[in-house]
């Protein structure tokens, strides 16, 4: 299992891990300090001792979960000489692998962020600046390179076209799976979706690109 930080206090680390899973599963109100401590094998008073109160535990747990859950920026592995289309494909694939794909026990990290999206708390700001904005900036660079000279809001909307497609398979999973059936849903594997979203996004960008025929 992945360590949540470099802290030297093992109890504190176990509390952060347990709190992340409990908060992700039941939300801030639904999760109880007793369940968190039980899962962490710690005493009930440990939360108050290490974090002060439930709210600060939540704050620390969300930040710790995402500092460890997302290894690094998703498109750093792209060869620098690759074209923007290829970098977009890698970006989408990494996005799907990390956010959407359910690799068993590591799925709860992003449930925390989905809850923050619906009703953002104080930690949402730090989370956005620290983890999301770097990714978004790289996506914007790719789209900007694919279609130079677009107005600002068109550029924003095109980035959201990419992100929206990816995020749907995480956020709308429960409904989407019921809509098309479990077996059809299972056929939408990461490989297929990455290819689908990439090609759709490229077509969308080209549709808005400068009237000059933009060869890629």
């Amino acid at each position: 299992m992945g360590e949540l930080g470099t802290g030297l206090d093992p109890t504190r680390e176990r509390l952060l891990e347990a709190a992340g899973e409990e908060f992700a599963a039941h939300g801030f109100d639904g999760a109880t300090i007793r369940a968190i401590c039980r899962r962490a094998g710690a005493n009930l008073a440990a939360v108050n001792y290490h974090f002060g109160d439930k709210e600060r535990l939540y704050y620390e747990a969300v930040l710790a979960a995402h500092r460890c859950g997302l290894p690094h920026d998703p498109d750093l592995s792209a060869p620098p000489e690759a074209g923007p289309a290829e970098r977009l494909r890698i970006y989408v694939r990494r996005f799907l692998e990390q956010v959407v794909a359910v690799d068993r026990s590591r799925s709860w990290h992003h449930d925390l962020m989905l809850r923050e999206m619906i009703r953002p708390s104080g930690v949402c700001e730090a989370l956005t600046e620290e983890r999301i904005r770097p990714r978004f900036r790289r996506l914007r660079e790719i789209v900007e390179e694919l279609a130079p000279g677009l107005e600002q809001r068109r550029l924003d909307a095109l980035c959201f076209t990419v992100i929206g497609q990816c995020l749907f398979y995480r956020m709308g999973r429960s409904v989407a799976e019921r809509l098309i059936g479990p077996q059809a849903w299972a056929r939408l594997d990461t490989e297929f979706l990455a290819d689908h979203i990439t090609r759709c996004s490229l077509a969308a960008v080209e549709a808005w690109a400068a009237p000059v025929e933009a060869g890629r």
Copy 2:
């Protein structure tokens, strides 16, 4: 204010309305029966009398909210002789108007559904079948008409490309607004987004409809 049903009991109706807002704002665990009854101007025991317990109140409130919140199918107003592209534009616009656009007090209806998407409860099934599947079926018909003969999972993915783009502006609003700034976010009005998403989706569909060119 919109009535939540045709029931004859005014207290029951006020409880449903108040419960919807409280559950949408704070979730099932966060909302309290006391706050609901206070908002509805009803006695604390009214919930137990009319609905039995909190869970059945939640179930009824979610269903009632969506039975009244979404007036009718979004694309019924499309002229029957309109082409699929024009019907897609109307579909997207209605989707954005109803789900995304914040028309003051009616915004909480869809918060309920977003919460159901993250952690579906028993009502999610009824909600999907009753309110979402009819819309999804119509979208599939449009896409099928735009690009006949596609394989099933490509058709599904293309529908999700449309829905994912629309839903993002609702689900990712808090994060997206912070990412691009409030003033840039304000410029993404419904009219602009409807046009953007429609054109992007049409380009995406055409990318897969065309005879298979050399893929990756």
